[in-house]
Structures are given as C-alpha cells and as structure tokens.
C-alpha cells in the first residue's frame, strides 16, 4: 500500500562530458552548448551544460525504476530553472528524490526534487505513474 506523504529513496546520477555526447547521439540534439566549452562560454553560459532533456530523462529513469518499468509512466512534467553545469574533467551529481502526493487505486502522483551541486535544477517536476 502506497501512502500519501511517503518519500522515495534518494538516488544520485553522475553526469560527465561522455554522457552528454552519448545523449546527444542518442537523441539527435547536437547543440554545441552541450559539448563545446568555448562555444558555451561565448553565448554567456558558465561552462558546458547538460541538455535539460537529459536531466529529465534521468529523472524519468528514477521514476520508471520505482514504478516497475518505463511503461508505467503516464504523465511527466518539469520546468528547467537552472542548468546542470558539467566540468571538462570529472563529473557532477544529479540528486533526485520524490514524494507521493496522491495515491488512488494504482495511480500514484509524485512531486520530484532534482538538484545538482546543491542547486535546484528542476521546478514543479511531477509525474503520474501506474503501479502494477
């Protein structure tokens, strides 16, 4: 029985430049702000940033895992409020947690929190999943 107010276990994803390249190739989004440091800085960004949709895809993985598989995610939304800044060497965290806000039969609504380097990167991040 899933109860309103239940907290999902926090999970940390690690994002590095290699992952940005993999996601760019898999998604077709080859915008240079996600791969080319000089270009990113030239358009006013602090450094190379992760695709907002990569952040969202990783959060999607988090909720899919909890819900028992990617087929069980029915609705998913988020606002991109701050970029995930990815250093040339090493990696940066994407730390995800969630709270059950509604549970009716098998339909469960989640409010999701996602931070990177201590900064909240998504706002009003929500999902509706069906837990079999």
């Amino acid at each position: 029985m899933i109860e309103v107010g239940a907290e999902l276990e926090e999970h940390v994803f690690w994002i590095d430049r290699d992952l940005l390249k993999k996601y760019a190739d898999a998604s077709g989004d080859q915008n240079p702000i996600h791969q080319d440091e000089e270009f990113a800085i030239s358009v006013g960004l602090p450094n190379v940033i992760a695709h907002g949709m990569l952040t969202m895809a990783l959060v999607g993985k988090y909720i899919s895992d909890w819900a028992g598989g990617p087929a069980n995610v029915k609705e998913f939304s988020a606002r991109f409020v701050k970029p995930v800044i990815v250093p040339a060497n090493g990696k940066v965290d994407l730390t995800v947690s969630a709270l059950v806000t509604e549970a009716v039969d098998k339909n469960v609504r989640l409010n999701i929190t996602a931070t990177s380097a201590g900064v909240k990167v998504l706002a009003i991040a929500k999902a509706l999943v069906v837990v079999k």
Binding site: L19, A26, G60, A71
Partner: protein, 129 residues
C-alpha cells in the same frame, strides 16, 4: 520574431518516423535503462523537437532557433512507444507572448500511430532577446 499568423496554427507532420529497436536501445543505454522492450518516457522528444525545429525555423514562421532555451516540458503518454511504431507528429503553436523582448511560446506535439494518439507533449521554448 515569430510571424503572428503562426500562432494557433497546426503544422501537420509530413514525414512519419519509424522507430527502430536501435533508436530505443541507444536512448535507453545513454540513461542506464536496461528495459528496452519499450521506449523511455521522454523518448518522444527526439521526434517532436526535431520536427518543431524544422517547423519553427522555416522562413515563414521565423523563429531564431540559435537563441532558443528550453523552458519547460510536459508529456502525456497514452501507451509506451515500441520498436516498429510509425509515428506521425503534428505540431501546434498553442501560445506566444513577448516579455521584455524574450519570445515565449508553447508548442504542442501529438504523436499518432495509424491515426491513434500515442503521446502528446508540450514544450515551452524561450528565444532570448
């Protein structure tokens, strides 16, 4: 700036996209998803964003894609996308406003297979002044 006639307009997808197992597996692998029997929940963005770019950058619509930032994103999934799906993507510019020189628009994309809706998504896009 966006041509005002474009707001509220629906652009019918001209070229259906066939989803392959390789497409799904590459996307899943990138995010560490081992279940590749269906596409991950955000997979449809690969199709909808490419089509939005093609539509919105067309000279008669006039959006400057190079100064574009993704503001927010929403998905409603009727069923998971699977390999072999032939998806047609219709895109509608649902709203448009200019705030302090920034153009803010919401594009809705409806992905359908054989006339049946599979997924809808809404992307709020911001063109920085």
């Amino acid at each position: 700036m966006l041509h005002p006639d474009s707001v509220g307009r629906t652009f019918l997808g001209a070229n259906p996209v066939t989803v392959t197992q390789e497409d799904i597996s590459a996307f899943a692998l990138a995010i560490g998803e081992e279940d590749v029997s269906v596409a991950p929940p955000t997979f449809s963005i690969c199709i909808s964003l490419a089509q939005s770019q093609a539509i919105l950058s067309a000279p008669e619509v006039g959006l400057d894609w190079t100064r574009l930032v993704h503001g927010d994103q929403r998905f409603e999934l009727r069923r998971p996308i699977v390999a072999g799906d032939v998806l047609n993507c219709d895109s509608t510019i649902e709203s448009y406003k200019v705030i302090a020189g920034n153009e803010i628009l919401t594009v809705r994309s409806d992905l359908a297979s054989k006339g049946k809706l599979v997924a809808s998504s809404w992307s709020t896009l911001v063109v920085r002044a």
